[in-house]
Subunit: 172 residues, 4 copies
């Protein structure tokens, strides 16, 4: 059996539910649990729902909370599901933690939509967190980027590396 | 921009379509193309549909064909979508190729079903093919296994390593 | 509260599940139950699973069984979910029952597929069974036809009336 | 061929798309077109998108516009897709039109969600508009109600008849 993976859910589009003028909530239960069950994953993981916010509403305190949860985790492989608008900002706050593999992911479309990038991105993150050395990464759109270089391109609805270096690639 | 990834489609459950007594075909167009489009991947890839068969029907000639397609590919990162029943058999035939990263994936349920492991597994394979050193691998159920050790556990509907070693993990 | 509706499930494509060389079953649990739950219907209904067969495999005895189940039903409004290939044949067997509203429906694509006509057809049948006078009908493709005139057009994947009269329409 | 059905789209939840802090639009293209195509309906229909609003935002002028569109329509069978919160209000405004069959429908969950009542409700409306005599109706949750008696029960997320009479039923 593989080591246990820790999953921290911090809200964001991936967990958005339909809300209208009569609704109270906008961000629902962590969807990653359903995604992993549907994929019948042979993994041991622990899920903790830490925040349920649009990432544009995250405060410095919220980021400190995520930092603390990751730092105290006995697990060394950690996935953080997070809204995309400030995913890179939060990821950089975690760069001080150097003994763990930390992979951020999320989605541009809610997991509850018929058409969404959520399942695919979680598949990428689950794989990246097992294969990469310690560090902080963003797994989105089929690419894995170093948190320090990753930025959301709002227009293209994609993440890209600010230095044009592109995704992390093994030597071949 | 990342290097181009080569995708070889060899049929299998992932591409199965609904067929009945009046249908002619059982395995349809490669679904991986739709999966990558829906995930809005920022990747450059080339897709070649080589076989459209249930993997129980693959012959030695079919496996030689897949071997040849991989060997002559100018791309060094290659994904093969394949039926699960004989995925490990085909993967081992390719172990003679040592200068490429070759990742097999597929699904237990057709990609066209509402509930399927196809999207997730493709996300895993796309990530594995970028991060791993040359070799032949199977990416299924959230784990990446060496082809030499991978076996389908028919009852559990999962792949597992025959030596109990578990999935490939980075040092952390 | 409306009168109770009786639903008889006789198998067919609507209930097909994915099966492969290692599977035992081809027709699964009645999907209409999930469809009605997802639509949050405000209806009182009773579901009975009578047969689980491709409709090409139905025998005269099977049709007699369906006839008997409908005839003894205390409910006057009855939906029969059924495979499309011989739906018209079975429906005509029931024309001897003249004191009930009997609506056949099913689907060309399994309800478990991402893209299917199953939910839509069930919505049509549920409405038709409440609005029509006693008789035997087929509700498919957005039309309601008299069983006596309905035929499957295999090529167009639709039902049509053999006399070219078209669907049942109110006077307006 | 059946008579042509006129479909008027007035926005509402059924057409809602995912929007976030960076989005401009909240109500998208009419989804009923995709629903009818997926169901492979054998119907002749004309679709007109008249409004793209949450129904709580509809004004008296908007309702007059819908009234006018229905009144001038050469087609005698008309479906109006509409938000649920004020569907009954708009439907009652149309009661002055007595020579047409007018059926309102919509959904509690957007059609773009994996789980939604949209397809089912459209199936109900398409059937009701063909089978009912002239009048104004609401087809939701598997029931057809007279517009004059229909009310949304916000808590139960269903429509019900205010006089407890229940749905329209044929004599049997």
């Amino acid at each position: 059996m593989a080591e246990m993976i820790k999953i921290i859910s911090a809200g964001g589009t991936i967990d958005k539910i339909y809300f209208d003028a009569n609704s109270e909530f906008q961000v629902g239960d962590p969807q990653i649990h359903h995604i992993l069950a549907e994929a019948n994953v042979a993994l041991d993981y622990e899920l903790e729902s830490v925040l349920r916010k649009d990432s544009l509403d995250l405060t410095d305190d919220d980021r400190q909370l995520i930092f603390n949860k990751v730092q105290v985790s006995p697990q060394k492989r950690i996935i953080v599901t997070h809204g995309t608008d400030t995913m890179a900002t939060t990821a950089r706050v975690l760069e001080g933690i150097t003994d763990k593999v930390i992979v951020f992911t999320g989605s541009m479309e809610p997991a509850k939509l018929k058409s969404s990038d959520a399942i695919f991105n979680v598949g990428c993150a689950i794989t990246a967190v097992q294969l990469l050395p310690p560090g902080v990464y963003i797994a989105m759109n089929g690419q894995v980027l170093h948190a320090a270089q990753a930025n959301k391109n709002l227009k293209a609805k994609r993440f890209e590396s600010s230095d044009g270096e592109g995704p992390i690639l093994s030597k071949v």
